[in-house]
C-alpha cells in the first residue's frame, strides 16, 4: 500500500472513515481547530452535528449508540470542552455505551504548565472511561483511534477518550490505518466453558419455578432472537431491568414486567419465590435488588455475563457463566427441555392483578381532574403501537414511562439508568434519531430535567432533526418531592419549580409546540404532535403531587415492595 502523507488532523478524520463513522457530535474550540479544519473538507461524507454544549454532544452520541448499535463519536476542545464531557463519560461507563471521544489538547511543549484551556482530562476521566490515552505525535494517531474503536465496542462496551495535542494535529505523518483486532493484555471474547452451561441447563431443567431476568447485555450482544427462542422453549417467565426494556417484546405472554425499586409488583416479589434465578446480561444493581441479604436466598442463581468482574460481585452465583449472552443462549437453547410453566406464570398474573386493582383503588380516591403521567404514557404507547423509540430523562416520568410504555422493539428504550443523569433525554433523543432515522423518536422529559439541557433545542433547530418532545410538567422535582413526602415529613425543600413558558420557548427556536392541560385534549395533542412533519414539543400539565407506586423503600427487600 502506498502511504499518503497527512496531517495528524486529517489522519483523525480518515481513521474515522475507515471505522465507518457517519455522524460526529461536537463543538469546536482552540485546541481542536486543526481537526475541525480537516473536517471542513469532508462535509459531504461525514455528518457533523453542532451541539450547544459538550454535554449535549456526548449524550447525543450515547443516544446514537444505543439506537444504532454503533459507536458514538464526539469531538470537543481542551479544558472546559473536555470537562463538559465528564457527566456523559460517567453515564456511558455505567450504562456500557460504546463511545469514542476525541478531545483537543494544548501543544505538547505546554503540557503541565497550566496553559490556557489546559486540563488533565486523561487524569480526570480515568475512572470513568473504559480506556483513555493522550497522543502527542501525529504518527501515533491511527493506532490510538483503531485501539479506541476496538476497546469501545468489544467485550462489555464503554466510553474511550483520546486526547490529542494541537502539535500532533498539525504535524504530518504517513497514514496507514490498521484496524485493531487484538490487544495482548485484553481478553474481551471469553471462550465459553461448555460444562458450566450444562450445569446451568441442568438447574433450569430441574426447576419448578425458574425465573429469567434480562438486562441490556441481551441487546449489546444482539441476542434478542436467541432470548426469545430460549424463553419460548423453556417456558420461563421473563422480567427486565430498566435498561433491558425492549430486549424482549413487552406484549409477549411470558413477559411479566419491569424489576426494581419502582418496578412492577409481581417481578419483585416473585424473585424471592422462584427456585432458579437465571440472570442474563444484567448486573444486580442495588436499584434492582433492594436489600441483597434478603434477595433470592431460596433460589439457585445462574448468572451469565461477559464481564467477569460482575460475576459474584453482588449476588453469589451457583453457576457463573462468563460469556457473551448470545453464545451462551445458543447453547442453552439446545440443552434445555421444552416446557411450560403455566401455573407459575399464573402466579405472576395473579400478583399483577393485585397491583392493578390496588392502583385503581388509589386512583378512585383521587378526585382531582388533573391529568396523570401514566395516562399520557399509556396513550402514547397505544398511538405508537409500542414501536417508537422512547427517550426518557430521570425521575418520575422515567419510571412511569418504563412501567407503562409497551416496548415491543429492541433498542427502543434510551434512558440514563446507572448514573441517573437529569438533562440526558433532550440531547440523547437528538442522537437517537440520527442513529435510527427511519423510526419515530419521542423524548419524555420532566420540567426539571428539560431545563438542565434545554439549550439543545438550538441543535434540533439547526440540524433539522425530526423528533417529538413531551414535557410532563408537574411543577415539581417530582421524585425528590415524593421522597420528601414519604420520608421527610413533607418538608418540600427546594423541589418546587417555576418554569418558563415552554411553548413560547420552543417557538423561539422555530419548533412547533402546544400545551395540553385537560384530559379531553390529550389524545388530540398527542396525535397532532405525532403527525406533525418535523420536530414538535408538547407540554402536558400533570398532577402536582402524584406518587409512583409500586415502590421499594431504601433497605427494603424485593418482597416488601409497597403498592401505596
Amino acid at each position: 500500500m502506498n502511504l499518503t502523507k497527512l496531517t495528524g488532523a486529517q489522519a483523525v478524520v480518515e481513521s474515522l472513515l475507515v471505522e465507518q463513522v457517519d455522524t460526529i457530535f461536537g463543538y469546536p474550540g482552540g485546541a481542536i481547530m486543526p481537526i475541525y479544519d480537516a473536517l471542513y473538507d469532508y462535509e459531504s461524507t461525514v455528518n457533523h452535528i453542532l451541539v450547544r454544549h459538550e454535554q449535549g454532544a456526548i449524550h447525543a452520541a450515547q443516544g446514537y449508540a444505543r439506537t444504532s448499535g454503533k459507536t458514538g463519536v464526539v469531538f470537543a476542545t481542551s479544558g472546559p470542552g473536555a470537562t463538559n464531557l465528564i457527566t456523559g463519560l460517567a453515564d456511558a461507563m455505567i450504562d456500557s455505551t460504546p463511545l469514542v471521544c476525541i478531545t483537543g489538547q494544548v501543544a505538547s511543549h505546554l503540557l503541565g504548565t497550566d496553559a490556557f484551556q489546559e486540563t488533565d482530562v486523561v487524569g480526570i476521566s480515568m475512572p470513568i472511561t473504559k480506556w483513555n490515552c493522550q497522543v502527542t505525535k501525529a504518527e501515533d494517531i491511527p493506532e490510538a483511534i483503531a485501539k479506541a474503536f476496538y476497546i469501545a465496542q468489544s467485550g462489555r462496551p464503554g466510553p474511550v477518550l483520546i486526547d490529542i495535542t494541537k502539535d500532533a494535529q498539525f504535524s504530518e505523518t504517513d497514514f496507514d490505518y490498521k484496524k485493531c483486532t487484538n490487544i495482548r493484555s485484553y481478553y474481551p471474547r471469553p471462550k465459553l466453558n461448555k460444562s458450566v452451561v450444562e450445569e446451568a441447563a441442568k438447574l433450569i431443567n430441574e426447576a419448578k419455578k425458574p425465573y429469567l431476568l434480562i438486562g441490556q447485555g441481551i441487546m449489546l450482544s444482539n441476542a434478542e432472537e436467541e432470548l426469545l427462542e430460549f424463553a419460548e422453549k423453556s417456558g420461563i417467565p421473563v422480567a427486565s431491568t430498566l435498561l433491558g426494556l425492549g430486549a424482549f417484546p413487552n406484549n409477549h405472554p411470558q413477559y411479566v414486567g419491569f424489576l426494581g425499586m419502582h418496578g412492577d409488583y409481581a417481578p419483585n416479589i416473585k424473585t424471592n419465590e422462584c427456585d432458579v434465578l437465571v440472570a442474563i446480561g444484567m448486573r444486580f444493581d442495588d436499584r434492582v435488588t433492594g436489600d441483597v441479604s434478603r434477595y433470592a436466598n431460596q433460589a439457585k442463581v445462574v448468572h451469565i455475563d461477559i464481564d467477569a468482574a460482575e460475576l459474584n460481585k453482588i449476588i453469589k452465583a451457583d453457576v457463573a457463566v462468563h460469556s457473551d449472552a448470545k453464545e451462551a443462549l445458543r447453547i442453552l437453547i439446545d440443552l434445555v427441555d421444552a416446557k411450560q410453566h403455566t401455573s407459575w406464570l399464573q402466579e405472576f398474573r395473579d400478583a399483577k392483578k393485585i397491583e392493578v386493582e390496588t392502583l385503581q383503588e388509589s386512583a378512585k380516591e383521587d378526585h382531582s381532574e388533573e391529568l396523570k403521567m401514566d395516562e399520557v404514557v399509556k396513550m402514547l404507547s397505544e398511538l405508537t403501537n409500542g414501536e417508537a423509540i422512547v427517550v426518557t430523562d430521570v425521575g418520575q416520568h422515567q419510571i412511569m414511562t418504563a412501567r407503562y410504555y409497551q416496548y415491543n422493539k429492541t433498542k427502543s428504550n434510551v434512558t440514563s439508568g446507572g448514573l441517573g443523569t437529569m438533562g440526558f433525554a433532550l440531547p440523547a433523543a437528538i442522537g437517537a434519531k440520527f442513529g435510527a432515522p427511519d423510526k419515530p423518536v419521542v423524548a419524555i422529559i420532566g420540567d426539571g430535567g428539560f431545563q438542565m439541557t434545554l439549550q439543545e433545542l438550538g441543535t434540533i433547530m439547526q440540524s433539522d432533526v425530526n423528533l417529538k418532545v413531551i414535557i410532563l410538567n408537574n411543577r415539581f422535582l417530582g421524585m425528590v418531592r415524593q421522597w420528601q413526602q414519604m420520608f421527610f415529613e413533607k418538608r418540600y425543600s427546594f423541589t418546587n419549580m417555576v418554569s418558563p413558558d415552554f411553548v413560547a420557548l420552543s417557538q423561539a427556536y422555530s419548533i412547533e409546540a402546544s400545551k395540553v392541560e385537560a384530559r379531553k385534549d390529550l389524545k388530540n395533542g398527542l396525535l397532532k404532535m405525532l403527525n406533525h412533519n418535523g420536530s414538535y414539543l408538547l407540554e402536558v400539565m400533570v398532577a402536582k403531587e402524584e406518587n409512583v407506586f409500586p415502590m421499594m423503600t431504601t433497605g427494603a427487600s424485593v418482597s416488601e415492595v409497597r403498592l401505596n
Partner: protein
Amino acid sequence: MKKTYTVSVFTENSIGMMNRVTIIFTRRHLNIDSITASESEVKGVFRYTIVLRTTREQVDKVVGQLEKLIDVFKAFVHEDSEVVHQEIALYKIKTASLTNGDVEKVIREHHARILTVDPQFMVIEKTGHVAETQLLFENLKPYGVLEFARSGRVAVTKPMKEFSTYLKELEESNHKL
C-alpha cells in the same frame, strides 16, 4: 475479618498505569499500605506489589476490577503465608555517634550492613520484614537516626506456576477474531 493481603498486578508499561491501578482501591475507600512497581521476569510486563489490610471479599472484588483494566494482564491476591516477601530499609546516622556506645553490636545483631561511611554520616542497610526493619530503627534511635527510609514490600509467590503460563492461558481463553 480484616487481614493483610498482597496483591500482585501484571501490567503493560503505559503512562498513568500507577494511577489506573490505585483508582480501583480509592473507589472502595481502601488504603494502600505499600506499593512497589518494577519490570517482571517477562520483558515489558510490569509487576505491581500492593499491600493492604482488608477483607477477603473486598480484595477479591478489587482483583476482578483490576483485571478489567485494558492494560492489566492479570492480578493475584495472596495471604502472607503464600508469598515470600521482603522490604529494604536505609538508616542514616551521625558518624560521631559511633563513639557513644556499641553501634557495632546493634549492626551485628540485626545482620545489617554499612553501605557507606562519610566523615559526617554513615548509611546502614537492612532487608527484612517490616517488624525487623522497625526493630533496628528502634535500636538505632539512641544513636540519633538522621533519616530513615523503607521500601514497600516486594514479594514472589510460593506456587511454581510461572506468569508466562498464565499469559498463555489467558490468550487461549479468548476467541480469535
